[in-house]
């Protein structure tokens, strides 16, 4: 079974600074997707960024970028120029590719605080 581990229960960052959230995963599959979701107090899970395992290039979305290390099974999220609105729970998630059920396996999350 696939597992996702987020080893940092809480992180904090000064406004305008950069922070990196860690995620490792375990799978025997070679093709899969990885995601970072943000969950603010409003409860809705918001997709931040996704990465396809067969792509070597790291995904970027504006201030958000990932460091995808397939051999090490590591998928960290870097947030640049942190803003107050970035404060939330961040979840790393895995989904295997191919036919069948497309279920997300989530980590336990990292609570990010942004200090003004």
């Amino acid at each position: 079974a696939q597992t996702v581990t987020q080893s940092q229960p809480e992180m904090s960052v000064q406004e305008a600074e950069t922070v990196t959230l860690s995620c490792t995963y375990d799978t025997s599959e070679s093709d899969y997707y990885l995601f970072w979701y943000k969950q603010p107090p409003s409860r809705q899970m918001i997709l931040v960024i996704r990465q396809e395992a067969y792509k070597q290039q790291n995904a970027t979305e504006n201030r958000f970028s990932v460091n995808f290390q397939k051999a090490a099974k590591s998928f960290s999220l870097k947030i640049s120029d942190s803003q107050l609105g970035d404060a939330a729970m961040y979840f790393c998630a895995y989904m295997r590719s191919g036919a069948g059920s497309y279920q997300l396996t989530f980590g336990k999350g990292t609570k990010l605080s942004v200090i003004p």
Binding site: Y102, Q103, L104, K108
Partner: protein
């Protein structure tokens, strides 16, 4: 366009009762999934439906059931509620392909007393 809508937003039930949660996917999305998020944890997969057929089921007891209707909306039913069923229940929808990830609703907060 409306996002994924879930109802009700909050619900309080007594142990042993039954509950039905509802989800309307984004227009054009044919796949609906349900997740349970216990306080302090990441969401856990319960069911996935595509074109009204069950495509996947997580490690949950038979007290949990779901269905998808012709308009692609979905219901999650939980029978014989236990205190441990208290959680945020999230619905997510996607088009046929999932490469772009799922879009989640804001969830239903279920409290069992």
């Amino acid at each position: 366009d409306a996002g994924v809508t879930q109802s009700p937003t909050h619900l309080i039930k007594t142990r042993g009762q039954q509950v039905t949660l509802r989800c309307s996917p984004i227009s054009g999305h044919k796949s609906v999934s349900w997740y349970q998020q216990v306080l302090g944890q990441g969401p856990q997969f319960i069911f996935q439906y595509y074109e009204k057929e069950e495509r996947g089921r997580g490690n949950f007891p038979d007290r949990f059931s779901a269905r998808q209707f012709p308009n692609y909306s979905s219901e999650l039913n939980v029978n014989a509620l236990l205190l441990g069923d208290s959680a945020l229940y999230l619905c997510a929808s996607s088009p046929k392909g999932v490469r772009d990830g799922y879009t989640f609703g804001s969830g239903t907060r279920l409290t069992v007393v």
